[in-house]
């Protein structure tokens, strides 16, 4: 036992290697199971639906650990009665439990870390963000005549996601600026149910980005 504790870095590194080897397989399997359990939630913060689902697993693990200790103490005491009174052994048992528990927690949370890195990138939030960023780049490249833009949306600009999308377009379009419709060269219709109904007479729809998104350019600039 003493030897085991003195080589803690070796234990940790060994466990870390096993952990990294298992991760790629386990993460996918585990996440599939988790998402089916919770009804397919998105990972955008530290919680799933405002709770950490692993708290139950931690509790189970702590219970299993306590039961394991009791078993070890009982067996060892049965073999040698002096074991029961040796306080140092209890301390070491608890410490080894902490190390094991820490690895269990580490394992579960690194899976979450990989989820954020691999799985979430292909779904939320990065994939959708990347889509918007690509759209902005496309509009800028295809319509260099647009020196200023107007932003039209059915979303409220005082709360997310409208506020965030407005700022995202504003940032990526800069140094081209966002102005009122009357002063702008082009209009960005974003999440607009009927953009063709709201398009002013002096503009024409130049590009449909999706069912609710489009770009309109002032007619005199297209001629």
């Amino acid at each position: 036992m003493k030897k085991l504790f003195s080589s803690l870095p070796d234990i940790i590194s060994l466990a870390a290697i096993v952990l990294f080897l298992c991760l790629f397989v386990m993460a996918r399997c585990f996440l599939f199971r988790l998402s089916s359990l919770t009804g397919g939630v998105t990972v955008s913060s530290g919680f799933f639906n405002n709770i950490n689902p692993y708290l139950n697993i931690y509790s189970l693990f702590a219970l299993a650990l306590a039961a394991g200790f009791l078993l070890i103490v009982l067996i060892k005491t049965f073999q040698n009665k002096r074991f029961f009174y040796d306080i140092k052994i209890y301390r070491r048992l608890v410490l080894s439990g902490i190390v094991l528990g820490a690895f269990m927690i580490g394992l579960l949370q690194v899976i979450m870390q990989l989820n954020y890195f691999i799985y979430a990138r292909r779904t939320q939030p990065y994939r959708s963000l990347q889509g918007i960023v690509d759209n902005i780049g496309y509009v800028q490249r295809k319509y260099p005549v647009c020196k200023s833009f107007a932003f039209e949306t059915d979303l409220s600009l005082d709360i997310d996601p409208g506020m965030f999308l407005h700022r995202l377009w504003k940032y990526f379009l800069f140094p081209k600026v966002i102005k009122n419709v009357s002063e702008a060269d082009c209009i960005i219709f974003l999440q607009k149910e009927c953009y063709s109904c709201d398009c002013p007479a002096s503009f024409q729809i130049a590009e449909k980005l999706s069912a609710k998104d489009a770009v309109a350019v002032r007619k005199d600039l297209t001629q």
Partner: protein, 459 residues
């Protein structure tokens, strides 16, 4: 152009900062990792302050005006470098030393390498500037300064009161690349990530040995939130680097009794305050820590001349802080920029002050132990503390005091300012984990020191 720019961005801050740092560390036994990490962070800070001075005086903020004087300073300091580096061995807390590179060293180093490569690729290829604060404030300001070449409109930009270190260094990067690059301008965040890793590794190597230092750094890398902030555009990781550097330098000052370390700690603290508004609050924490370490800790107040000594220590620390912050305050007055942020920085004694205490405490517990952000770092720290709270070494006690002070300061922020509302919203982790990140690197350091004491001393 971009490749040359990237080379300048990589080399200039590191060399300049390391060269400037050398006279302060003269005669000290500091390993090269710690030296390089502190130097690089200082270099980025010097560049931002230089651009800030140019902009504040209405001078042109172009590449020649920024880079040439800095390169000249670096060249001037170059001959003094060999004299400042001490190659002698260093005293360590642990007598346990590893002689050869072992399997565990390689495995721990490969985990670190994976994290660093992941962060680099995410920065330069996968994740564009798309975080809320990035697009609305930090990168937006940097892009604005890059295209306009002036600070004149700063008061009209969103969150004008926010300090400018990160926008200015992003602008400097873009100037070097010759264009505004949506991915490469984030290189500064990778740099701070790497610097923080080297800071923790270097500090642990200063006290323990290579294997334990690697273990502590790996512990830090397991924290999801720390890795996440290495490639999204927030100012919390740079602030974490400056804050933890200042704290660790104060602890090194206590160990080595070298007063110049307090001056560097002051510079880092000032740079922290120039990174984010919270940095100003952290200056007070550092002052309290200096007071604690100067005399109160050892009940030495009866010692003759102790008050004079404490006064000088505080002055050494405060002078650089006041120079950096003072110049920024003068700039704010001259450019009509507000000092604080409405609804965020004003102090209020709320009628429900005492009712807030359990909510704040609960939020801390839930964030530290219930989220996926920190991995098992806080669990491990709590467990180590439970097993050794009455047998802490001096360095561990000092680190623990610093962490306590940060918790108190963050709790006060929620109790005494309108920021309490961030704990009441459904997704309450908007602000709190970012505050915890500012001092998080201290946790794996303390954990490693405690684990080392618990396990190695039994040999």
């Amino acid at each position: 152009m971009i490749t040359v720019g990237l080379l300048i961005v990589i080399l200039l801050p590191s060399l300049l900062g390391t060269f400037v740092l050398t006279p302060f560390l003269m005669g000290l036994k500091i390993n090269m990792f710690l030296r390089f990490s502190l130097g690089s962070g200082l270099g980025w800070g010097i560049i931002s302050l230089w651009i800030f001075l140019l902009g504040a005086f209405g001078l042109p903020m172009n590449l020649a005006a920024i880079n040439l004087p800095l390169i000249l300073i670096a060249l001037f300091l170059l001959p003094f470098q060999r004299r400042g580096v001490s190659r002698a061995g260093q005293p360590r807390l642990s007598s346990f030393k590893t002689k050869n590179i072992s399997f565990s060293d390689i495995s721990l180093a490969s985990i670190l390498f994976c994290c660093v490569v992941y962060s680099l690729i995410s920065n330069l290829k996968f994740v564009p500037i798309s975080s809320w604060d990035g697009i609305s404030t930090i990168a937006f300001k940097a892009k604005f300064f890059f295209y306009e070449g002036t600070f004149s409109f700063n008061k009209d930009l969103p969150h004008a009161s926010y300090p400018l270190l990160v926008p200015l260094v992003m602008m400097w990067e873009a100037l070097n690349y010759g264009q505004w690059h949506e991915y490469l301008t984030k290189f500064v965040f990778f740099n701070y990530f790497l610097n923080t890793l080297l800071l923790v590794y270097g500090f642990l190597l200063h006290l323990l040995d290579k294997r334990w230092a690697l273990m502590g750094t790996t512990l830090m890398c397991f924290a999801n939130y720390f890795i996440l902030h290495s490639y999204i555009v927030y100012r919390d990781l740079p602030l974490a680097f400056y804050t933890c550097s200042a704290i660790l330098l104060i602890l090194l000052w206590k160990m080595n009794q070298k007063d110049s370390l307090l001056v560097i700690a002051g510079i880092f603290s000032g740079l922290g305050a120039f990174t984010k508004l919270e940095g100003m609050g952290y200056c007070f924490i550092e002052i309290v820590l200096i007071l604690y370490l100067s005399g109160i800790q050892f009940n030495m107040l009866k010692k003759p001349g102790i008050f004079k000594s404490i006064g000088f220590n505080i002055l050494r620390f405060l002078l650089p802080v006041m120079i950096i912050l003072g110049s920024y305050f003068i700039f704010k007055m001259a450019f009509h920029v507000p000092f604080g942020e409405g609804g965020k920085t004003e102090m209020t004694i709320a009628f429900d002050l005492f009712l807030r205490v359990p909510v704040v405490a609960g939020a801390f517990v839930k964030n530290l132990f219930g989220t996926i952000y920190w991995n098992w770092n806080w669990y491990l720290l709590a467990a180590c503390f439970l097993f050794s709270f009455n047998r802490l070494r001096q360095m561990e006690r000092n680190l623990l005091t610093a962490i306590y002070l940060f918790f108190l300061a963050d709790a006060a922020l929620f109790l005494l300012t309108p920021n309490y509302r961030y704990l009441l919203v459904e997704n309450f982790d908007v602000l709190l984990p970012r505050l915890i990140l500012h001092f998080f690197p201290l946790a794996p350091i303390l954990t490693t020191l405690m684990l080392n004491r618990i396990f190695v001393k039994e040999r």
